[in-house]
């Protein structure tokens, strides 16, 4: 290309406001999506974690393909053996291959995590958006309720609610005169509902704050001046800008939900056989502290730890990718 008059090609690249004086070359412009992807991929730990998590999900959900032994296959002669070449994670009390048990147990743990995040994020984002956008008394009501939930000790409330389910398999009751009607729920389902019920306050707050800030921005004013309806404004201007906050928070909620489920199960208010989760395996192995069988304790906890760590890194990577103005941590 021949040399163009230099004054014409001053460009703004990306959202960091980088100015480039280009002499003759064609300007390279990136779309928002490409920029996002570039930034995310630069975050090494997030990438590693993404693979780790994907691998974890694959081996757990695909346990029937991957596990070395069948589920629940007992081998009482080889009970409680420490890890060996045949049983990479040893065997449990009933001689079942621990690795297999862990893989299958992972399904419920991960599922609970994802579902809780999905439910609480959806509900929370909606409530937050409505509160932020409409303002007025709806905002007041939602904000007060959110404040209330932010203050309560979540674990205790969850434990209380779930203890009801655990004790008798019942959750709620109605007195319809001469009988008592009991509303029975499956414990895993109850756990998902309860934990989700105690997780949405954070996302409500974040989304509400984001919507409030966006509402005042010029492009929303411009859209309104051009006659756009509320729904249109929400759909095309507000929601897309909230995606960052929502996604990051959803990711972190997965981690919190997984740990909460494990903790509740450990305290005795969560899953019990035939529903296994990593939390349950730890609960079951809690007596092995100080003994030689402590490996029964390590492995499920290690799985929890790795999963949560990965999710956290991914969330961190997402946060960096969505917010170009933040301080860049180079991992």
């Amino acid at each position: 290309m021949s040399i163009q008059p230099v004054s014409e090609t001053v460009l703004e690249l990306g959202t960091e406001g980088e100015h480039l004086l280009v002499e003759g070359a064609e300007p390279r412009a990136y779309t928002q999506r490409q920029l996002f992807r570039r930034r995310f991929f630069r975050h090494r730990m997030a990438m590693i974690s993404l693979f780790a998590l994907a691998f974890m999900a694959f081996v757990c959900y695909g346990a029937n393909l991957v596990a070395p032994y069948g589920r629940g296959e007992q081998d009482l002669l080889n009970a409680t053996q420490p890890p060996s070449s045949e049983h990479w994670m040893g065997t449990d009390r009933l001689g079942r291959d621990y690795l297999t048990e862990i893989l299958y147990a992972g399904r419920l743990t991960l599922t609970i995590g994802f579902l809780v995040a999905l439910i609480s994020t959806t509900m929370g984002a909606l409530m937050g958006a409505v509160a932020g956008y409409r303002g007025g008394w709806i905002d007041q009501v939602i904000s007060r309720i959110t404040d209330l939930f932010l203050i309560v000790p979540a674990l205790l409330i969850a434990a209380t609610l779930l203890s009801g389910v655990r004790r008798n398999g019942q959750f709620l009751w109605w007195d319809v005169g001469d009988r008592l009607v009991f509303f029975t729920v499956d414990i895993a389902f109850a756990m998902i509902l309860v934990i989700a019920f105690l997780s949405w306050q954070y996302i409500v707050r974040l989304v509400r704050a984001q919507v409030l800030a966006l509402k005042e921005r010029e492009f929303v004013e411009a859209a309104r001046a051009a006659g756009a309806s509320h729904t249109r404004i929400i759909r095309r201007h507000i929601l897309p800008n909230c995606i960052g906050v929502i996604t990051v928070n959803a990711t972190l909620t997965i981690a919190i939900a997984i740990v909460t489920e494990a903790t509740l199960t450990f305290l005795g208010f969560g899953l019990q056989p035939p529903n296994f989760s990593w939390g349950y395996l730890i609960y079951d192995a809690r007596g092995t502290v100080g003994s030689d069988n402590a490996y029964l304790l390590y492995f499920p906890g290690l799985m929890l730890f790795i999963t949560v760590l990965s999710v956290n890194f991914i969330g961190d990577g997402l946060r960096d990718a969505f917010d170009p103005h933040g301080k860049k941590e180079r991992w």
Binding site: P153, T160, R167, N168, V308, K327
Partner: protein, 321 residues
């Protein structure tokens, strides 16, 4: 400033009432009938039970009665043994306070130190190390950490002390011992560590971020331009501003602290409120659960109030507007 405090207190009271009412509602829905009525289907026992516990009155009335009693310190009687709930709660409360007290103090101190250090030495090896540790700490499920730590302490005992445990993992004092001594400390280490590891990890990250913001602001530059020495700039100018956001975070995390102490007490068999709570839930002791939740709600709201006050002390912009 007094007006500010008064306003906050006034705001807290309805909050407390609503919270306790919600709690009462929840407990009454999931407890009374399920635990006892389901098992005793015969109409006479049911009637007697309902009569005794006024279960046929509307919830609001029951709530009112309970609240009036509670404020006077009467939390009713246990279902099992018909003993006053307060007798069980008092000693347990004292045990719990010790753990929580140490926990908060140590957490705050360590987290702030780590946060400031990391921020000042940003991008250094120690910063990366501490950040990595923080990520690990946040990801560690506290109950699992507690078990592992306990396990290692026992293993350690085998090598170091010839079988005698170095750090204890059961209760707060060895049999027959009491008071503030080495034995006490040895009992405290594991539980406090378990309680605080996640909190320290999370707070130190936050403090680091907050300090980084503060240290890059203009008034820090002004202080340096005046010739103030670096340590003084960091502590006098930086930290005073950098602590303010942490106060808010601490207030928000109190609820999590309650959950954490339950776990800690269960893992280390400490006879505190947490274990009492778990036992009560398992045995269907509604009154104990109610007592505990009331104390917890009150504690949290009180803590938030204290945090607000601290906030207004630290930040004159809040105080004087």
């Amino acid at each position: 400033m007094l007006i500010y405090i008064l306003r906050r207190v006034l705001y807290s009271i309805p909050l407390l009432l609503i919270a306790t009412f919600g709690v009462f509602l929840m407990v009454s829905e999931t407890f009374d009938a399920s635990a006892y009525l389901a098992q005793n289907r015969s109409p006479e026992t049911r009637a007697a039970f309902i009569e005794k516990n006024n279960l046929d009155e509307p919830v609001v009335n029951r709530y009112g009665d309970w609240l009036v009693d509670a404020v006077q310190g009467n939390f009713g009687e246990t279902y099992r043994s018909s003993e006053p709930v307060m007798d069980e709660v008092r000693p347990a409360f004292w045990n719990t306070i010790q753990i929580v007290g140490w926990g908060i103090l140590i957490s705050a101190f360590v987290a702030v130190s780590i946060g400031v250090y990391s921020a000042v030495r940003q991008y250094s090896i120690s910063d990366y190390l501490l950040t990595g540790l923080a990520f690990v700490g946040i990801a560690l499920p506290p109950f699992w950490f507690g078990l592992i730590a306990y396990h290692f302490a026992t293993e350690l005992a085998g090598w170091v002390n010839g079988g005698e445990p170095v750090l204890y993992g059961l209760g707060l004092h060895s049999a027959g011992k009491d008071g503030l001594n080495l034995d006490y400390a040895r009992h405290l280490v594991l539980p406090v560590m378990t309680l605080t590891v996640q909190i320290i990890a999370s707070w130190s990250r936050f403090q680091r971020s907050s300090m980084l913001d503060v240290l890059s602001s203009d008034y820090i530059r002004t202080a340096r331009a005046k010739g103030v020495s670096r340590p003084k700039v960091i502590l006098k100018h930086g930290l005073r501003n950098g602590l303010i956001p942490l106060v808010t975070i601490i207030a928000l995390d109190v609820g999590a602290l309650f959950g954490g102490l339950v776990v800690t007490e269960v893992v280390f068999s400490i006879p505190g409120m947490g274990r009492l709570f778990v036992d009560a839930l398992n045995n269907g002791e509604a009154n104990i659960v109610l007592a505990w939740l009331l104390i917890a709600a009150f504690g949290i709201i009180l803590f938030n109030l204290l945090a607000d006050i601290a906030y207004s002390i630290l930040d004159p912009r809040i105080r004087l507007s």
